[in-house]
Symmetry: C2
Subunit: 240 residues, 2 copies
């Protein structure tokens, strides 16, 4: 499983992904699920993936190859974020045409989900969620975030805290708390994490960090959040 | 969907269930998911159900009928909680033998899950989770709670707070917070709630309340928990 979350705030974009993949609990590996496409001054695109690893790797490889070939439509020459989301959708459809029938013969469903966010010069930052069928939806001011993978454990805290007016630091903090709750409840989501914070109109990546087991800020979040929750719990009155 | 949670604490048992059923978001109804079997001084059994409503209703009806007939094995004459869990499992198997094939022809899987908890004179309180196949597991000191239905949203708070040494009031409070998080994130879980708190060795039900929209304690939990979370969130330091 996987857990990825991304937010589109007025101040910019926040992306967070874990790196655990598993084919059963006896086959757990570490694969990064965040890919960054950047041309400073022109565009920053961030792609998060979940679902069948063979499918999501095939999609990112196709996208990479089309970028290198630089002909036809590709992420690095898409004129808008909407067109970039279409490029990802089309790559997904190509992989589906090639693999879906064979997977079916092994009883494996074609599952994949992507989040694509970023900014292309001339546009505001935008955020999309792309489904296995290759179609997609865009984040709006009312629903400024998307999650893919094991999303439920970490959803309540985002629903309670996040709105478009939050700062990037607050967005990152909330994403990390959401990830911490997910990791605590689900073995198939795990460190290291990839965190990328994109400041609106920067058109380059200023903050992209890998969070390992010994990361002091993530450990502080982990400990202090749990401790504070228990304290708040203790302070709530008992039922009369 | 449904959300039910039950805890086996040293002090006794806590049960909480919602009452929303849906067949698509355009067909939402209210059905209670908690059934209580009580003979004061001898036994208290509480059954929580989730999954296909036709299946869980058929199971509870069969259990009711066998109690009235009072022959063969039934919940009211089971000598132990283990045997009582078997009675529920057998009722489930009977319904499956009758319905599963026909459901399959309509592409409907046979899904149902039950939690059975309680105390029978001569035993300590016990708690079981019963699967659609009719088999079951029992709660232990290390894992003193079970959830069925839409369980993920409300799991992190239980994992952080609940251990067997918690009081019944704390268990009820935690169950209500867990339910509140679930209702906030999932339209298919909704009020009224059924809350039952069973004190160890009482062998009768002292506290069984229905929680409606205007319940002051649930509203206090709802508002104060959300508010406190936002405050704790604000007090956590930003990423350096």
């Amino acid at each position: 499983m996987t857990y990825c979350v991304a937010m589109r705030l007025d101040a910019g974009l926040v992306f967070l992904s874990d790196s655990r993949t598993n084919a059963g609990v006896d086959h757990i590996n570490t694969f990064r699920k965040m890919t960054v496409y950047e041309r400073a001054g022109d565009r920053v695109l961030v792609l998060l993936s979940s679902g069948n690893l063979a499918i999501s790797q095939a999609v990112t490889t196709l996208l990479q190859e089309s970028n290198h070939a630089a002909e036809g439509h590709c992420l690095m020459n898409a004129p808008t974020m909407f067109e970039a989301a279409r490029v990802v959708g089309d790559a997904l459809r190509e992989v589906r045409r090639r693999d879906a029938e064979d997977l079916k013969e092994f009883g494996i469903e074609f599952t994949a989900a992507f989040i694509l966010g970023g900014q292309i010069a001339g546009e505001a930052p935008r955020l999309f969620q792309i489904y296995a069928a290759g179609n997609f939806i865009e984040a709006t001011p009312e629903t400024p975030y998307f999650q893919i993978g094991e999303s439920k454990y970490g959803k309540p805290i985002i629903d309670r805290v996040i709105h478009r007016g939050r700062s990037l630091a607050e967005g990152a903090k909330c994403a990390l708390i959401s990830m911490d709750s997910t990791i605590r409840s689900n073995l198939s989501v795990g460190l290291p994490l990839d965190l990328l914070v994109y400041e609106r109109d920067a058109l380059c990546v200023a903050k992209h960090v890998s969070i390992e087991n010994d990361d002091p800020y993530f450990n502080l979040i982990h400990n202090q959040w749990g401790e504070s929750l228990r304290q708040v719990f203790a302070e709530l009155p008992d039922m009369p």
